[in-house]
């Protein structure tokens, strides 16, 4: 009987094989050119590989299309705003304004996050509040958000479909000229996954190419010292090159939580006021800081952790001496910590020609 069921299985599989020819895709057999991410060796040796969805592999054509879309205002309702309008390459794909301004002239209410090393967000919780569960999902938001691009996906799809260039580019990237929102988000995600930053001064120091200044060295010690900075429990240490845990914390900014952050997404009061730790890479280019861009300088950020902490119910237990406002760093340690933090900035990332606006 078991052998008989095996034979039935064969007939079933054979049926499947032959029925496939009835639904031949328009470009059967077309395979876009696979593209490996250009990952730093140090990353490969110290952390897990980048997250690349099985249904959206990196390809040369997909990345090129994603880049074109990223810099093209065609995605916005009035065709005036592109992704780079709020995620500017020269600012490590963040926005120097506290709040970005959408096509209606209305401001947002959170600072635009920088875009780098997002392929290494292993938990795949994106945005300040973790509201997107994948990079592709994140891409859906800004296009239709009334205070950002204020468009509709049906309009985006129609506009792209009518263009003289995009149908061919989608054909090259995905083997079909039929453009839909899913393919748009896939292409942009492929481009964003290429935005890898791993060539800061500190990276080169780890690679024994250069030395740190004494000030930067002491700043690293402050960063790693539990009794002073203790920054590493949320932002990592030299053996972990992302400089963020990509987790959510209440870092003692407000006594009264007005923006619930992660709590808005989960509905759990224990998550009220929690926001995703940003990476400390490229701080030289990503001011202002915090989820609401309230601090214009790194000095203000350091002062906050040193003497500006305030208690609220969900404050992270890693925040120390909250009743005293913080650990009270010396002015010398503050300056050294800032020097170290700036050593994590990567000039080659913001000048990488692959990441610039197309001419």
């Amino acid at each position: 009987m078991k052998n008989l069921s095996g034979i039935w299985s064969i007939f079933f599989m054979a049926g499947c094989l032959f029925s496939c020819s009835d639904d031949t895709p328009q470009n059967e057999g077309y395979i876009p050119t696979p593209l490996d991410l250009n990952t730093p060796e140090f990353f490969d040796n110290s952390i897990l590989p980048p997250v690349i969805p099985q249904d959206n592999p990196q390809t040369v054509e997909g990345v090129a299309l994603g880049k074109k879309l990223f810099f093209d205002p065609i995605l916005s309702g009035d065709k005036t705003l592109n992704c780079a309008g709020c995620h500017q390459p020269e600012h490590a794909f963040s926005d120097p304004r506290q709040f970005s301004v959408g096509i209606s002239g209305e401001e947002g209410f959170r600072n635009a996050m920088p875009l780098h090393n997002l392929a290494y967000n292993f938990r795949e919780k994106f945005n300040w509040d973790g509201s997107a569960n994948s990079l592709e999902e994140q891409m859906f938001g800004p296009v239709t958000n009334p205070i950002e691009m204020n468009n509709t996906w049906s309009n985006v799809e129609a506009t792209l479909q009518e263009s003289s260039t995009y149908p061919r580019l989608f054909l090259e990237a995905f083997g079909t000229e039929r453009i839909d929102s899913t393919l748009v988000t896939k292409a942009i995600s492929q481009f964003i996954r290429t935005l890898i930053s791993g060539n800061s001064k500190f990276d080169r120091y780890l690679n024994n190419e250069i030395s740190l200044t004494p000030q930067e060295e002491n700043g690293l010690n402050v960063f790693l010292d539990e009794s002073r900075g203790d920054c590493f429990h949320c932002h990592g240490l030299p053996s972990t090159p992302l400089w963020t845990d990509n987790a959510f914390h209440n870092n003692g900014l407000d006594e009264v939580i007005t923006d619930r952050g992660l709590g808005n997404v989960t509905g759990d009061p224990r998550d009220f006021g929690l926001f995703r730790s940003p990476s400390l890479r490229n701080l030289a280019y990503t001011a202002p800081y915090m989820h609401d861009g309230r601090f214009g300088t790194l000095e203000e950020v350091i002062d906050h952790y040193s003497e500006g902490l305030v208690y609220s119910e969900t404050i992270d237990p890693l925040m120390k001496k909250v009743s005293e406002g913080g650990v009270g760093l010396t002015e010398s340690d503050k300056a050294d910590l800032k020097a170290f933090l700036l050593s994590l900035s990567d000039p080659s990332f913001i000048s990488n020609p692959d990441f610039q606006r197309p001419n």
Binding site: I10, H233, P238, S239, K320
Partner: protein, 266 residues
């Protein structure tokens, strides 16, 4: 043509299969599953208890928990019959609040029989100093690595939360367990480290009968970290415990009564 060849190959494969009834039965070795649970003196700690439920420790301090993460390694089965040792040299990082890695199957198969089951709390020095480290532990939510100036390697455990201090203030605590590191002067720096001591320890769960399918519950009584034999005073030791040599030695002492064998199901 390719499809036809594939079809023929599948037919031949199917027809060549033996009837299971004809197979010779060979006793296969078994893997063993572990389930990790946490409690406070017998009261189960669920996700909803974190940041909500108040516990009172042996020193009388009211406290809440926000995070309970711990690393277990080197799961080992020693045959009661002939003393054969089956060591998995595997590790598992339990993220209790989120319920991640609360079940674990060491990468080893053993014959049915009676075994003394043990594992290591944390990493022993050999594992802690493994060249190149562990990419997965370097990538987990909540950094697990330990700064080089504290001896490097990895955390054994992170328990975090709040307690009410002697001034009746809600105060954060970080009960972080690492390899004990002694410094000539504090705060620690690149040249202050004078001694490292392996403060991981073996947990012996006792004898377990392993069958074809076996699940072993490992219960962790979190209260014991603050209780026995050293009554932990959070007012004195609530933060910056990683470079506190004596605190780490005392944690090891208290850890000896934290873990125990729970339900064994076949």
């Amino acid at each position: 043509m390719k499809k036809i060849v594939l079809l023929l190959l599948l037919v031949l494969t199917a027809l060549s299969c033996k009837n299971d009834d004809d197979a010779i039965l060979i006793q296969a070795d078994s893997s063993v599953d572990f389930t990790f649970t946490q409690n406070w003196n017998g009261q189960t700690i669920e996700n909803s208890d974190y940041q909500n439920t108040t516990y009172v420790n042996a020193n009388g301090e009211s406290m809440t928990l926000s995070k309970v993460n711990y690393l277990l390694s080197d799961f080992t089965f020693t045959s009661v019959t002939d003393g054969t040792v089956y060591a998995s040299e595997d590790y598992n990082l339990v993220l209790a609040r989120d319920g991640e890695n609360t079940t674990f199957t060491p990468d080893i198969e053993i014959p049915e029989g009676d075994y003394t089951v043990s594992f290591t709390f944390g990493f022993d020095d050999e594992d802690n100093d493994k060249e190149g480290g562990y990419n997965d532990l370097n990538s987990v939510d909540g950094f697990w690595s330990v700064p080089a100036m504290l001896g490097g390697g990895y955390h054994y455990q992170r328990i975090e939360g709040t307690y009410i201090n002697n001034a009746a203030e809600v105060t954060n605590f970080q009960f972080h367990t690492v390899r004990a590191n002694r410094h000539e002067t504090l705060p620690p720096g690149p040249d202050t480290l004078v001694e490292l001591r392996d403060t991981s320890f073996e947990v012996n769960l006792g004898t377990v009968s392993v069958g074809t399918t076996t699940n072993i519950e490992v219960k962790a009584n979190i209260a014991e970290w603050f209780n026995n034999p050293i009554t932990w005073d959070l007012n004195e030791r609530f933060m910056v415990l990683m470079p506190n040599f004596q605190a780490q030695l005392d944690m090891k002492e208290n850890g000896n009564t934290v873990f125990e064998l729970g339900a064994v199901t076949q």
